[in-house]
Symmetry: C2
Subunit: 353 residues, 2 copies
């Protein structure tokens, strides 16, 4: 058997703002004469382990450095992702494929479930006597990886949460009532906790923060909201999607679709059910009328002003004109693009592999 | 009666990123010797017309220019907002108050309902013979004001929608399935249409766009999704919160709380009900397994790397440590702030009046 000096790299789990930075960093290191002297071919498996099983690869030695830098600056997973927990049989097929390709190094970028997939591959390789060096490259915006001070992706995600809650607090200051923001984080409250960075003044929100680490009680929640309304005349609440009662079952999981991935995680993102349920609770039990819940998931235009009668703007709304609506009824026309592009400016450039 | 050369300015309707720019622009113009020569006192009414009825004002001649510039850069309504349609009796009390304060100019910043409130005040003033010049300063992120090419706020909101849908399209490319993004716009589809600016390549999403201007059919929607899944193997959908069936009633309004404001608008924002209902429909009728719905509503850290066994990161998650959780169970500690602040960096400065 010839020396297995080729490598496979893949991405897994939820895509994030920074997961392509890790991919490009690892690929550039592998391509470097200094750090990657022992590395031969660099296979990028498409959609994680699923790409190995399907023999679907991108040759990452052939991608230009310019394109790699554009990929690094692009959100989401350039190689595609998956949520697959490899079985004994999957591993057997993976090693067969690795043997065929002379792969001796396997890099898996992802969070704790992806690390677990890499651990399974490493342990099965050892059992089978297949010589494989496995690496897990940490990702994960919710910062729940053990043995990391913080995960790549947490800083930018935490900044988003803090900025969004800060904006909501200013809106709540203007219109009053209760605002509930549901924040990602199935088991760890780091991202929800980051909402506290929005505070500057003593009466700034978030006024209440509910974390998955603290058992959630509906009665206590209603009491807390009433107390905050009394003190501030308004209330901004940051709540983790993963809050759970004394039984340890996530409340959002009970309200959701019940969909479960191969790692046994119940779907919680991509639904507004938890926020809506808490909003109904506040309306019914805390007697607050205005309650809103959200779940966080340039210009070069010549402007001219003219005096117009108020009645021209009053009450009735302007609809999107017919010429901006595509004939199929579910799209827009180029005329709309031409109208809106100068208002919005160019979006940051993105690249795909 | 002495010459009524004082002015009242107020903000109304939903707060936005740019409504304080309009406030500060008008105040600086009124304070300028050139443009505001005829203006005496500048009263900022707190919470719109409600502030006039409650005699609650900020003296906007006394606020420093530096503070005004900080206010301009701050989102939301610095004077507070309201959603109040003035009655005949309200107007009578407003003119009594204006007479007391020698107010001859009234500026109301807001969207079409605020313009309607200003129109009512202007018409009632004329009926009563009270000499008042009324101005409506256009705001409104959803661009539905007649007689504006575009409203202040539409550009930045459209940019947000396009950026968010672009990010979702990249995620959808990585993980597949259907992603539904519900976008603001009760009667006008401009913001939902702006999602089209996310497209760069022929297979980029959004693949389907549903606007309030086009009658929505569930059967047609399911067929469209099936066709997009067949063509692209995935599907990103932008849908307006205001889509309505042939009966003209907004589907989101039927699913929501039924809450109605004084202008007769049914609550549609701040709930995930429409997105969740469409996701259920796609799962049930289009046979797609992975369906997600969302409703849009610096660093100076020393990093050190060390090799760690994969098992340390695998499967089990790290929870927020006890020392980061406040004793009351609904807040975080200073220790968490100290941990997270360098990761997130300072947020943009905000000012309140």
């Amino acid at each position: 058997m010839k020396k297995a000096n080729n490598m496979v790299i893949a991405q897994s789990g939820g895509p994030s703002m920074v997961i392509n930075e890790s991919l490009v960093g690892a690929v550039l290191a592998a391509r470097s004469k200094r750090t990657g002297a022992r590395i031969g071919r660099i296979y990028g498996a498409v959609h994680g382990i699923a790409g190995i099983l399907a023999r679907d690869y991108v040759d990452l030695r052939k991608v230009s450095e310019k394109k790699l830098m554009a990929i690094a600056a692009t959100p989401s997973s350039a190689l595609g992702s998956c949520r697959l927990k490899p079985t004994r049989e999957d591993c057997r097929r993976i090693f067969e494929e690795f043997r065929r390709l002379s792969v001796g190094y396997f890099f898996y970028i992802g969070g704790n479930d992806s690390a677990d997939a890499a651990r399974i591959v490493a342990e099965e390789a050892e059992k089978d006597g297949y010589p494989l060096v496995c690496f897990h490259i940490p990702k994960t915006i919710d910062n729940d990886l053990r043995s990391c001070d913080h995960t790549p992706g947490f800083g930018s995600a935490a900044r988003f949460v803090a900025s969004a809650v800060k904006g909501d607090d200013l809106d709540n200051r203007a219109l009053g009532g209760v605002k509930i923001d549901v924040v990602m984080g199935r088991d760890a409250g780091f991202l929800t906790a980051a909402s506290a960075l929005a505070r500057e003044r003593p009466d700034d929100g978030p006024h209440l923060i509910y974390l998955p680490e603290v058992p959630f009680s509906e009665d206590r929640f209603v009491k807390d909201v009433k107390a905050a309304m009394k003190k501030f005349g308004r209330c901004v609440i940051a709540v983790s999607e993963g809050i759970r009662g004394k039984d340890g079952v996530a409340i959002g999981a009970k309200l959701g679709s019940g969909e479960v991935d191969s790692h046994g995680n119940v779907q919680m993102s991509g639904t507004g059910a938890l926020g809506d349920a808490l909003a109904r609770l506040v309306k019914a039990k805390a007697g607050v009328k205005r309650v809103r819940a959200d779940t966080f998931g340039g210009r070069a235009y010549r402007v001219a002003y003219a005096a117009r009668p108020i009645a021209d703007a009053a009450k009735e709304t302007r609809s999107l004109p017919r010429e901006f609506i595509a004939k199929n009824g579910h799209d827009v026309t180029q005329a709309f693009i031409d109208y809106a592009r100068p208002l919005v400016g160019d979006l940051p450039p993105c690249a795909v592999l």
